[in-house]
């Protein structure tokens, strides 16, 4: 166990880490000077206490949120890696302009989240412990998106669903990271990048870059198979305020449902997200 490398790692993602644990940090550094075996043995416990004090919550729940995020990033990176490797799937112009970046981002998110989880003293979920079926066939390889790696339009549709769902998944975890300057800020930063991807895939597909729902249906993709991924996006009420009653450029007392739904992306809980993925894209 290398305590100082852990602290160094955390400082990479949290420049204020020293301030958070100061003056305890000095105490930790001083441990080396007296070299007490008792003190070293107590370090894991002390570390946990420090994290709890520094971040105002136990690191366990934060790690579980991050492992949930890592699971989604494994799925996304696998999807783009296999898509990129599938001969003739992604037109080279689109790959070079768009998907090369998206692929790189998702793989970077995997590495980043693994590093953060490790830095917090957690164990990153192993990719080898997960089996993905990009056809949503729960391991059969013959799910409803059976041609996902041979038909570019199917690939784009699944890509859009993954990105839009990813945005919802990160958003749903924000409350679990409340007040956590390091992890919440990083999660919001990934959340924004997923939204940039979603916008871009939608742009490529020729739909609105934002989710434009009707009063009855959140899903605007035209693919009813993913209705569940968009359920709730039709919400028009924010903090108890019916947004369709607010002023707009067209009316002093009304806003269109299409605007009220598109202007706010809606969250999904961890349970909702896993229900959408496990047994289809994630083999159960």
């Amino acid at each position: 166990m290398n305590l100082f490398s852990i602290i160094d790692e955390i400082e990479k993602v949290d420049p204020d880490f020293q301030d958070r644990i100061s003056p305890r940090r000095d105490a930790i550094k001083n441990i080396t000077s007296f070299g007490s075996k008792v003190a070293v043995a107590a370090l894991p416990f002390a570390l946990g206490t420090i994290f709890k004090k520094a971040y105002g919550q136990t690191s366990t729940s934060v790690v579980s949120v991050l492992n949930f995020a890592l699971t989604l990033e494994y799925l996304e990176s696998t999807f783009y890696n296999q898509g990129a490797a599938a001969s003739g799937l992604i037109p080279s112009a689109d790959y070079n302009t768009y998907f090369k970046t998206v692929q790189g981002d998702e793989n970077a998110h995997v590495t980043f989240l693994q590093g953060v989880i490790t830095s917090l003293g957690g164990t990153p979920v192993a990719e080898s412990s997960l089996t993905f079926d990009l056809t949503a066939g729960n391991g059969s390889g013959k799910g409803p998106f059976a041609d996902v790696l041979t038909n570019y339009q199917t690939f784009l549709a699944v890509s859009q669903a993954f990105e839009d769902t990813g945005v919802r998944a990160y958003k749903g975890q924000a409350g679990n990271l409340l007040g956590n300057q390091v992890v919440l800020t990083a999660a919001l930063g990934i959340h924004a990048v997923e939204a940039r991807h979603a916008s871009t895939v939608r742009y490529i597909r020729g739909t609105t870059p934002w989710i434009t729902s009707t009063a009855a249906l959140g899903n605007d993709t035209g693919i009813s198979l993913v209705n569940g991924n968009y359920d709730g996006e039709q919400n028009i009420t924010q903090l108890g305020i019916d947004c369709t009653t607010l002023p707009s450029e067209e009316s002093p007392s009304a806003t269109l449902v299409s605007v009220a739904t598109a202007a706010f992306d809606e969250p999904l809980t961890m349970t909702q997200v896993l229900a959408l993925l496990v047994g289809s894209f994630i083999v159960s």
Binding site: T97, E106, H109, F112, L178, A195, Y203, E249, A263, D265
Partner: protein, 229 residues
């Protein structure tokens, strides 16, 4: 330069102190926005500090309200005087963004109620609204700044419902930002906006407001977050 650095550092420390104070308050911090009348005096316009966003969650929501006012005013102008060569697809997209930003503005105004800062007057004289390049560059700057602002202020929010709402809006701003970026240069949807981990960069309130103030005739301050215009 030294003063700016001190201000920024002070902002971080002050923000953290505020956070810790609120964290200690726990659930008691959850309340109705309009009940926060004690913050009201902060919003008075004075010659010395202009408008102040206030403190705590109300301050952060007013910060968002100020940015949304600025964005809405910008896109209203964009649609009122379209740049030469605006395609119908661009007109549709930019009109949608205008409508989203106007709704964000109206939403914050309604949610804040009596605690809301006043309507702000914008000055866009630096932007050439007849030029596609000028308008899209400004749009990208507004959207990217908005994303960094929401992402950077998120951890300061105490009420989880407000945090969720901020999250609901910031991803839409990120969608706007990527759309604008792809209009300028296809494929530039994250260019210059992410770190080496592909995580969107963020900014503090004290970093964002000086940028916003360059487009505002009445300057906005954030004393509680250590920024005075």
């Amino acid at each position: 330069m030294k003063t700016e650095t001190e201000l920024k550092n002070g902002g971080v420390n002050m923000a953290r102190r505020s956070f810790l104070r609120y964290a200690g308050a726990g659930a008691a911090a959850i309340g109705v926005l309009t009940a926060a009348s004690s913050c009201h005096k902060d919003h008075n316009v004075t010659a010395s500090v202009g408008i102040d966003i206030g403190s705590g969650d109300v301050g952060i929501l007013n910060f968002a309200y100020a940015l949304e006012q600025l964005e809405a005013a910008f896109y209203i102008q964009v649609i009122a005087t379209p740049y030469s060569g605006m395609t119908s697809a661009e007109l549709t997209g930019l009109t949608s963004i205008r409508d989203h930003e106007v709704l964000h503005r109206e939403f914050f105004k309604k949610a804040l109620g009596a605690a809301a800062i006043p309507a702000l007057s914008a000055n866009f004289s630096a932007i050439n609204f007849t030029s596609r390049a000028s308008v899209l560059a400004a749009a990208a700057a507004f959207e990217n700044t908005g994303v960094t602002a929401y992402d950077g202020a998120g951890y300061l929010i105490v009420n989880p419902d407000y945090l969720t709402v901020a999250g609901k809006i910031v991803s839409v701003e990120a969608r706007h930002a990527a759309y604008i970026a792809n209009l300028i240069t296809p494929g530039s949807f994250v260019a210059g906006q992410v770190d080496t981990n592909a995580v969107n960069v963020s900014a503090t309130i004290a970093e964002v407001l000086p940028i916003a103030n360059t487009y505002l005739t009445t300057k906005v301050s954030a004393k509680s977050f250590n920024y005075v215009a």
